[in-house]
Amino acid sequence: MSLAMSPIAADARLRLGLRAGLAIFVLLLGIMPLLNLLPVTNPLHVSDFLVSITGKWICYAILALSLDLAWGYAGILSLGHGAFFALGGYAMGMHLMRMIGPRGVYGHPVLPDFMVFLGYQELPWYWLGFGSFPFAMLMVVLVPGALALIVGFLSFRSRITGVYLSILTQAMTFALMLAFFRNDMGFGGNNGFTDFKELLGFALNTSGARAGLFYASLIALVLSFLICLRLTRSKYGRVLTAIRDAESRVRFLGYNTTSHKLFAFVLSAMLAGVAGALYVPQVGIINPGEFSPANSIEAVIWVAVGGRGTLVGAVLGAFTVNGLKTWLTSAAPDLWLFVLGGLFVAVTLFLPKGLIGLIKGRGR
């Protein structure tokens, strides 16, 4: 049957199939919190655990999308995307800490517990404004965006590419991790932020708030997907892909490759920040461990497994690898790191286009 079709038609059909699959997947995700409301005896009931962990995976999928935009389309292999994710998470965490109000252990009306404990008299200046939700949300995108702008501008201008850029971004997240581990940074040191109470007036420990966050994440995922889709299909996206494949040539053609890459990198960092901000209230904690270089590189493997350079692939990879991780870390904890390491090796050696490449190969 496929013999009769031209390759282009087959490709279009496949793309249509993937989109349809994604739409069905999103719909399935959308009814999960509703199924959670069913009585436990009902065979369609979805457990609290599954809903909350799926909420986490959705955030990871946004992170994977953002990384795919940088790596898959612009050729910037960032090993520091976890830093943008964590910075967004910390911005959200600061807002949540302020929302605890006087309900902390020490009952201080303004200062979070750890500041009372460390002997702060008043909020440090960089905490001001985080009591306001819109301001905090602005910071969720602005802080990672600003960091990406600085690092990206300096690096792209100096034409640092490839592995050098990867090492640089890895050093960036490593430095941030060390810095955030310090108590006198004013970000809770080792323990980070936890014991959150409420967001926008909703108590976080209710199933309603959980469902709300779940839907917010799902909407953010769909929106991110659409933004990335629109962007990569545009003329700008074509130039970006061209830069990925032959940067010098694109530069010689008269394009300003620095600003093209910079835009993609900053947007990508902002998306990662949003993912982190949605992640923190769902897991209830943020600490400097999120900056660890291993986290960032793990996110890279989600994209690699799914198939870089395809947006569906990034989402697919995030869900597949994290699903595997959740299953294996409880079924055979010793085995997980072998499997993860094996994934790195197998994907780079045998499956350079990821799962999507595998599906496409079948479709032909």
Partner: protein, 543 residues
Amino acid sequence: MRTGAAAENQGAAWRRPRLIHMKHPVLIFLLLFALALPARAQDAFTAGLTGLGTGFNQTAESVDRLGASGDPRALPLLRALNDGRLLRRADGALLIRDGAGATDALTGAAADATGAEVVRLNNRVRVALRGALGRLQLVSPDPAERQAAAEAVFRSRSAENVPLLDTALARETVPAIRARIALALAASRLMANDPENKLLGVTALGATASPEARAVLLEARATNPAIAAQIEEAVAAIDQRLAVRRAAETLFQGLSLGSVLLLAALGLAVTFGVMGVINMAHGEFVMLGAYTTFIVQEALRGIPMLQPWSLPLAVPAAFLVTAACGAAMERGLIRHLYGRPLETLLMTFGVGMMIQQSVRLAFGAQNREIISPAWMQGTLMLPGDIAVTQNRLWILVFSLVILGLTVAAIRFTRFGLEMRAVTQKRAIASSMGIRTGRVDALTFAFGSGIAGIAGVALSQIDNVSPNLGTGYIIDSFLVVVFGGVGSLAGTLVGAFGLGTINKILEPWAGAVLAKVFVLVAAMLFIQRKPRGLFAQKGRAADA
């Protein structure tokens, strides 16, 4: 701390010194007695014995006299008194109980202890005993005891110890203890009443480079306004010397950290710098080297003859183990990814993950203990009291030797020649009959082997655990990139530069922030000079 009121009192005492004398008649007596001491030591000992056990006051005075005598024979006697083992027979003879029997305190011969009574102590005697024992230990035959005594006398400095310390100093032969006694002597002189003696003390203290001497001088400044200027001068001299010493020690620490970075980065300089293969499992090879050291150590436990050599023997063993791992990895995996550096990065990271987990399952997650050989333990004192830890000194030397050997291997051996040929122009090298695949494998094995050797050295100063290598990988890459990819000289300068900067920043920024600063600085530097300090020029730069 001394208050202002105390200082005023002291000022008054300075003007009317007789007051002090009248308060302490025993003290003057002792002082005079001690001055006459060297000539009359023998007499003093026998004379000192007389009052013991006849009454508390007499006992205390006799203890004081014995303490002032500076006679080593008094030491066991006073110890026995302290332990309640000193007996006095009705005929006045003093005996020391020794297990079941007893010996004569004067002659050391066995003696009959029937009817002898234990010499009793009260608080006054105990105080006297403590002082006397402290002073007598200055002449003890045991160096450790003399050292401790010098410390004690320094802490309880008083003018009456001056003559004692003088004799002890004349007798002392161990340089370290001599220095301590001289310090105690100078500090004690400062407590004397005559200005000449005080000034002598100030000058002697000012000639040292000891923070303790500085503290003593500062304390004395408040009570001795008359010689405040000289004291200031002495303090300034000490401060200067301390600053020099601190700078020297910071430099050493910096060089030491640099040597660690150099060892960790040297293998990378070969695999990444020369071959252009980015190996994220490099840290795991370092870790494997450290575990090889552990295995060699355990294997040699049964052979006493070889045991002290376990560390030197671990060096070739670690090289071979990690070189074999490296060769296997290059032939099995990396070879298929040449020309795709990003994929190589991810793949090697995955391999590193698996190596780490294998070691964790095989050896457990806890730290393994590596025993340092005796010649690597302890601290070496360089002139000027600069403290240098032996193991770090050895690692510094070791790293330079390994660097030298690496350079020699690349410059002067057939293998090095082939390696350079393949790096420069693979096709031509191949057409000249060089088996490029074999050279690739050997080069990668060589770099990995150096990582293993680094692991042997790091096992001496770091915890040997499965995640030993994780801490070094980012630093190593920064060193290689900072120094200039493909340049071993750059790696050398990069390692020592980053190490020294880190240690210079540490005192005022704290260890963590210093590291953050260095990371940021290295990142910024790479932005300015993407090709590193020692950039390769010409065609090789575009490879």
